[in-house]
């Protein structure tokens, strides 16, 4: 855990300083010490202190052999989920929700070791159910492509 603690501690300490720095530029209510920057400043100071409290013991102790990922599958999962959600955000306004989410589901199902046929059937059913429930039952306007769906 120590390397991770060092990363968290450093991140919080540096983040806290940046928050305080940015908050001090926000100004105050006229005639008062309070203002938009007060609350974030307090958060920044507290975050900085907590970061140091986590960082200090992590630096004092020797590093043990530690593995972040439990296996290659988990590393792949992190990259794949991140990539597919970014793909959905980037392509849904252009290709529409149905096509984008179908491609996303196909990729995710195939990467999870489902056969091509099983993935295609499951992706089609999932997208149809979600689209029907959200657009028809809940009236959520999901993004549509240039072809109207």
């Amino acid at each position: 855990m120590l390397a991770r603690d060092a990363v968290i501690g450093t991140g919080c300490a540096v983040g806290g300083v940046l928050i305080v720095h940015r908050s001090m530029q926000l100004g105050n209510v006229p005639g008062s010490y309070a203002g938009p920057g007060l609350f974030p400043t307090l958060i920044g100071i507290a975050l900085c202190i907590c970061g140091i409290l986590v960082l200090a013991p992590a630096l004092r102790q020797k590093r043990k052999g530690e593995r972040f990922f439990s296996g290659p599958g988990e590393r792949l999962r992190l990259v794949e989920v991140t990539g597919l959600v970014i793909f959905l955000i980037a392509c849904a306004p252009k290709l529409g929700f149905i096509l984008t989410s179908w491609i996303m589901m196909m990729a995710e199902l195939c990467l999870r070791k489902n056969s091509l046929l099983r993935s295609a059937v499951a992706a089609t059913i999932l997208v149809a159910v979600v689209w029907g429930l959200f657009t028809k039952a809940l009236k959520v306007p999901l993004p549509v492509g240039p072809w109207g769906w």
Binding site: I8, P36, F39, G51, V54, L84, V85, L88, N114
Partner: protein, 498 residues
């Protein structure tokens, strides 16, 4: 009173009303089951239908759907560790750990029966002590709300498993995320980096979905199937018996949680999420086995579930007595009341006594209905565990994305969900609890708004934060919330050492 009660029973015997209650119950269960959709959203979507209804079916629909949605949020929380609604996030770890140990039926039975009991206690208190409690709630000013929010924040830090400093980090990050957007005092954009989407702040629903749902999807690989063999079908009486076995020696805890939930629910702006957290915190502080909290404790589930359903009844107290909404659902509901020509306030008890009593009875019926309908929902939900993880996890990811999008119809919220998911994944790998981030996001605006209001009101003086009687009591509670866990941990360490 008896005349009003008789008239109320007559009003409730309408088949149309029963039809509306059943339909809204199914709708509420569906909304609660989908991560990202909240009881508030379900109520808002239901409003257009109320245009064509009489007052009682409209109000009954809202009551039933909110009670069902709050309970149904426990089902995905238990089965896949994704809280359906924010109210379930307090005890999600315990419910999920019970499920992982092959006790999903017990966990769901506890959620259904405790939710119903909490809801009924909330309804009874609404009937009996509404005016008195509402009077008490009006004595809460910005000073008291500030301390109430701090109490909520304190309990989440002290009850989270693992290091207190790491819990503080998670909480502070949640509080920081809540400051993003337009500032409430001067209207200045804070930490938006020129993004127009960030002006509205970080919505806590996509954040919650990401922290619990997306991080779970990333972590779960086909090799990591962790559920112990589950019994997937179970009878109604088996569920009741299972719940009773867990509840029978803890009736005092159940009652305390429900009363606490109802009182917190009665405070305008507080609501079921805060009620569940505070009740969970109080439960851990007073428990004989606090070390089991967060690791699949039945007692922990029993402290949170009654509180959030009791808070629903509690929220109606200031709404009916003064026309002040207790939470976002009652705010919508007040709109429906006004639309139907009803004016909430002390006079409503005299002029529309039969309607008020009918509302009380609807609350009780909704919570009684929750047990059989909750059973059906839990049984259907259990089928999720039959689905291979290779299909279930992509399905959860899709629901998480669409649920986050549906909050504001914005893909930006899907981005927020992803960022929070990655943060949650990294934090859990580093033993940093993620639940305090959600509570920080929920309570951050309440803490800041009330602090700033108080400071501006008093011209910068901080003395009233501790000299007002209710504030002073809350300060003592906050001090206890910090010192008791530290003291008992120290005592445990000493006894282990000796």
């Amino acid at each position: 009173m008896m005349a009003n009660l008789a008239a109320a029973i007559q009003l409730l015997s309408s088949p149309y009303l029963i039809f509306i209650m059943v339909i809204t119950a199914v709708y509420g269960l569906f909304v609660g089951l989908v991560p990202g959709l909240t009881a508030t959203m379900a109520t808002a979507l239901f409003v257009p239908f109320t245009f064509f209804m009489d007052p009682l079916p409209a109000l009954a629909g809202v009551i039933v759907l909110s009670a069902m949605a709050i309970f149904a949020g426990d089902i995905p929380a238990t089965l896949v560790r994704v809280p359906g609604t924010p109210s379930s996030s307090a005890y999600v770890e315990d419910a999920y750990q019970l499920c992982s140990r092959g006790m999903a039926v017990r966990a769901l039975a506890l959620c259904a029966c405790c939710s119903a009991t909490g809801g009924i206690i909330g309804a009874l208190s609404l009937m009996l002590i509404a005016p008195t409690l509402a009077q008490f709630a009006t004595r809460f000013t910005s000073f008291e709300y500030f301390w109430l929010a701090i109490l909520g924040l304190s309990t989440t830090v002290t009850v989270s498993k693992g290091s207190t400093v790491k819990s503080c980090i998670a909480l502070l990050l949640g509080l920081f995320f809540s400051t993003i957007g337009i500032d409430i005092t001067l209207g200045i954009p804070r930490f938006t980096f020129g993004s127009s989407e960030l002006l509205g702040g970080v919505n806590f629903i996509p954040a919650m979905v990401g922290l619990f749902g997306v991080s779970e999807v990333i972590r779960t690989t086909e090799e990591s199937v962790s559920f112990t063999a589950q019994k997937l079908s179970f009878g109604f009486f088996e569920m009741l018996k299972s719940a009773w076995t867990a509840m029978k020696n803890r009736l005092g805890i159940l009652l305390r949680s429900a009363v606490l939930g109802m009182v917190i629910g009665a405070l305008p702006g507080a609501g079921g999420d805060i009620a569940a957290w505070i009740s969970y915190g109080v439960g851990k502080l007073s428990s004989k086995h606090p070390e089991e909290y967060g690791k699949g404790s039945e007692e922990a589930v029993l402290t949170g579930t009654p509180a959030n359903n009791a808070a629903l009844g509690g929220a109606w107290i200031p709404a009916l007595v003064f026309g002040i909404p207790g939470d976002s659902i009652t705010a919508i509901l007040l709109g429906i009341l006004m639309m139907k020509g009803l004016r909430p306030g002390p006079l409503i008890f005299e002029r529309q006594g039969d309607l008020v009593y009918a509302i009380y009875l609807v609350f009780i019926i909704a919570n009684v209905l929750l047990i059989p309908l909750g059973y059906l929902a839990a049984r259907s939900g259990m089928q999720m565990l039959k689905v291979p993880k290779g299909i279930l996890m992509p399905a959860i990811l899709l629901f998480c994305c669409v649920g986050s999008y549906a909050i504001n119809n914005s893909l930006f919220d899907v981005g927020v969900m992803l960022v929070m998911g990655l943060l949650g994944y990294f934090f859990e790998k580093s033993d940093v609890p993620v639940a305090p981030i959600v509570l920080g996001l929920i309570l951050g605006p309440m803490v800041e708004r009330n602090f700033m209001m108080s400071v501006i009101k008093t011209g910068g003086s901080l003395s009233q934060f501790v000299t007002r009687p209710i504030s002073a009591v809350l300060v003592i509670c906050v001090a206890c919330a910090w010192t008791i866990p530290l003291w008992s941990a120290r005592r445990r360490r000493r006894s282990v050492a000796s």
